[in-house]
Symmetry: C2
Subunit: 377 residues, 2 copies
């Protein structure tokens, strides 16, 4: 799975490719049944022992361990059948050119399967996930390619123009003409979605929506010729995928978060991917990403920040300790120093603190740090 990008599969031709994959998937089952052997498919194991940080690639990915799903197995039969039913529905959605959510999928299955469907298995996204993930990994497609929408979150402003083919219409989206709102990042930024023009020197990812609004009001993206993105906290799949696609255009990616557990997590999830989405890392991890701030060492250059620290919470301390135990962080001098300062001072700094002297100071801070390349990586 780590070889070669899956990337965009759902242009007209891509859509047909996915349908073909689903059909082949079904035909191989039928052929097995006809041969009187148990229908079976293979998927890469997503167990903890098959997830590792790949030093060379710089992200968390799945290993090569393969698992078999087979119908004639008491523990697997029900789930196996449901996975096949999901594949069948997704083929239908693709042919109809309609999208739905996992919840919509659940009701389609319940409508046709009735009581044989285990409601609890689909009750929570986290419980239905394994079945859809099995399909994604077995077929080497993203669920977005199967016309399943994922939660969307995140906003963009800046020199990015997109062409959005959707619901039979075609729309040009100019992210430099979205006023106070910005362009909302959709679930799927691949299928029917093309970059028409990318005119920017870098991508700035800002943790908080409030900070994004602040920078958008000051036209930071226009003055600095960058693309300004907020994931609004933890990044959605669509947001990560969009940043990945911009990084593929050789745009540097700088992340600007709080100096605390949540901020660090947001940065590292963007950079190295996460354990949960290790199976997608190739499509969404951005190992090139750098951390522009806020850092504890900023206090040396911006003295006022020393007075605007707040007390670190238990979760911040615990997270700093955990991170120091990761191999790839413990070898990174800058991050070790940073995290040890947090542990020593028991303080944290929010990105909002950079508005202390004046609201527009945050822009000056970013400008200076980016110009002087004061990054952690």
């Amino acid at each position: 799975m780590a070889e070669g990008k899956r990337g965009k599969v759902g242009s007209m031709a891509g859509e047909e490719k996915v349908v073909k994959k689903l059909e082949d998937f079904g035909l191989s089952m039928i052929s097995e049944v006809q041969k009187e052997i148990s229908p079976t498919f293979k998927t890469t194991a997503r167990t903890k022992s098959n997830v590792f940080f790949d030093e060379g690639l710089g992200y968390i990915r799945l290993g090569d361990k393969i698992e078999e799903r087979t119908f004639i197995n008491v523990g697997q039969a029900r789930k196996f059948m449901q996975t096949i039913a999901i594949a069948n529905k997704c083929k239908k959605f693709l042919k109809e050119r309609s999208h739905t959510s996992i919840r919509g999928l659940y009701y389609q299955l319940k409508f046709s399967l009735g009581d044989t469907l285990d409601e609890d298995m689909f009750a929570e996204q986290s419980e239905s996930n394994p079945l859809v993930e099995d399909l994604e990994v077995a077929l080497n497609v993203k669920r977005e390619d199967l016309n399943l929408n994922t939660d969307r979150k995140g906003v963009v402003a800046g020199g990015l123009v997109l062409n959005d083919k959707f619901g039979g219409d075609e729309t040009t989206i100019d992210c430099s003409k979205q006023g106070r709102s910005g362009w909302m990042i959709p679930s799927d930024v691949d299928n029917g979605m093309d970059f028409v023009n990318v005119d920017a020197d870098y991508v700035l990812v800002v943790e908080k929506d409030a900070m994004w609004q602040r920078l958008n009001e000051d036209k930071f993206w226009k003055k600095e010729n960058c693309i300004l993105i907020t994931p609004k906290g933890q990044s959605s799949r669509g947001c990560r995928r969009l940043i990945r696609k911009l990084a593929d255009r050789k745009l540097p990616v700088y992340c600007f978060t709080d100096c605390d557990a949540w901020g660090w997590y947001i940065y590292w999830a963007i950079k190295t991917g996460s354990i949960n989405l290790a199976y997608l890392a190739n499509d969404i991890a951005i190992p090139e990403a750098k951390f522009v701030g806020v850092t504890m060492r900023d206090i040396k250059d911006y003295e006022f920040l020393g007075k605007l620290t707040i007390n670190a919470k238990d979760v911040d301390i615990k997270r700093a300790e955990e991170m120091l135990a990761y191999d790839w962080i413990s070898r990174n001098k800058d991050w070790v120093e940073e995290l040890k300062t947090v542990l020593k001072t028991k303080k944290k700094i929010e990105q909002d603190a950079l508005q202390g002297p004046r609201l527009s100071f945050v822009g000056d801070y970013l400008r200076e740090k980016i110009a002087k390349k004061k990054f952690l990586s």
Copy 2:
């Protein structure tokens, strides 16, 4: 406060009006100090005993009980001083034509007040709220008019064109040309934000973003000539204000939520406002709103829904019981029948269930119910 709309105060002229209000507020304090009396201001009490459901207006509003805030009062001195400091900062933001969040405001105060500022008081939005609310009520303005951004959430598609004056630029936003994403509802839909054109027969408010995406893909808003809005769960202030402004244009407002505790709450908060925001009810409550579904009685007309109910949770049962105890609901036959059915069957229905027979069925359902005016109100 219930008399007359505050509405839009922040056009060029409005901005100056708010600055004038803040200046008068400060001048009256100074004059009191010079007269050697304790500076004092009046605000409408937001205590439980001063919040009630106004049968005539159809929403939850504040009564007439006035409270005084005064500096020479051991229990009030610190908060009083902080409220004045907030007023001073907001005047500055308005003059600078810059916005920030409550968190940005906190750091500006911390920067200038240092240790006299109580961090914990500002630690959570809920704790800093009372001070900002005091100002909003005392001055009869919204915090958005004070250049304080609130959390934004919610998306629009349909026949609505807006003019957005923001950060020195002017942008035309056409909500019928936003592709798969839609237009994201900002914090402030009044100041610098004008309706250029509203071309729709009604407003449809859809609880879930996933359902909004489904209807957007089917171009429901285009086929039915409506404005399609999702608050993405509970409505933000900006979302409610936008719906209120559309209702002011005489557009009927129909709400489409799950048939469960959360769905009912979303509907009633849109319609009657909520206890927390009673002080804003005049600007954001939409008593004209009607409930289009999902309802338990839908099962009579759409038999398949009977098979797609799921078990009500404790919170649904508890909420149904609470709602039946409200005067204005207990007098509403349709709602009483509806809630009693939930209590009897202990079942609930999600809006997603309407995708059971086919993904596009949900559009047919809405079309039919709206055409036949099958609403609860």
